[in-house]
Symmetry: C2
Subunit: 206 residues, 2 copies
């Protein structure tokens, strides 16, 4: 039983790495199994199809990222300070990825959106759910900051969606130029989108 579940994990880990490096379309099941070091017969014991594996990879990646977002955004600090830390963490994760594999791999969800969303409705649906949740999480912070009189936006949900769009756009450029420095304007732009002109002391000092 230990070995069986090892094989499943190995397939998922190999697929995650390969999808981050080369996208989804170009991958074959044989190649994934070879990278995972498991016989091809095992694959269909665990996964119905390559698409089913991709959904599992997306789900596991999001489960981990969501825990991290929840930890950062739920911390004991002013709302805008928590938002700032989220951008810092994003930059650190992209930087660590670049150090370990030589290139900025970007956001798996953004990558798959542009590669796959018009081809596979199941993947489109899952990615929509993930981005909806991300926008919802940012919306909560923006709403909290507005209640404290720290931001000036009429529609917190639209502002949150624009912040996530800004994040995806800057991550796209970090990947294109292989330069995590491209992420540094995120915080300033976020404040601009939120109509923040004067920051509370705790956040401004960062």
């Amino acid at each position: 039983m230990g070995r069986t579940s090892d094989a499943r994990e190995k397939i998922i880990t190999a697929a995650q790495t390969l999808i981050e490096q080369r996208g989804y379309s170009a991958l074959g099941v044989a190649e994934i199994c070879k990278a995972a070091g498991v016989p091809k017969g095992s694959f269909y014991y665990f996964f119905e199809s390559k698409e089913a594996l991709a959904l599992t990879v997306v789900d596991e990646h999001w489960a981990a990222q969501r825990r991290e977002w929840t930890r950062i955004l739920g911390a004991d600090a002013a709302p805008l300070e928590r938002l700032r830390r989220l951008f810092e963490a994003t930059e650190e994760i992209q930087h660590a990825g670049q150090q370990s594999c030589g290139t900025v791999s970007g956001c798996m969800f953004g990558n798959l959106t542009l590669e796959m969303s018009n081809q596979t409705e199941s993947i489109r649906g899952r990615l929509q759910e993930i981005f909806d949740t991300q926008v919802g999480m940012i919306d909560e912070i923006v709403t909290e900051a507005r209640e404290r009189g720290e931001v000036a936006v009429a529609d917190t949900h639209a502002a949150a969606a624009s912040i996530v769009a800004q994040l995806e756009g800057q991550v796209l450029f970090a990947k294109l130029y292989n330069d995590t420095g491209r992420l540094s304007p995120l915080w300033t732009n976020c404040l601009a989108i939120l109509g923040v002109t004067a920051l509370p002391q705790a956040v401004a000092g960062a």
Copy 2:
């Protein structure tokens, strides 16, 4: 001679459609030739490789888009008004694409960035040049607006890069949700990034 150049154009047109629909990795030369209605032998008469074709498709697409950007951004109107028209034109193009093929296809350059930039250095280089030029074109407008005292940014180039990132991020969501309405916050966010609090009459009326 007429027929020869027809074949080249047919290959480029078919490849552009297929790349927009399904990305680059998943395509094969045989499939492109079949869609173009030309014998596979013709392909290598015109293109050294699939990569060479992709670069040609990117160049032709950018040549057309650049003409459009130049026309809009060079028009006889206030700088911010020209920028607003660029966003409107982007929304219209995405909407027209959705009407004709059922789905929002997004930005070919953004799509290829997330799919290909870590795999093919020639494509990465070409996409960098294109985005550098786009940022430069927006920078000129922002600089002009700043000279007129209409925007309040210290670094016009950084602001222009953030505007293009915002555009790419919102186009990504328009594609994911197959909804060009996702592009409507572009102008408001652009003004926020530019630190515009009061618009000149000609632009505000839009």
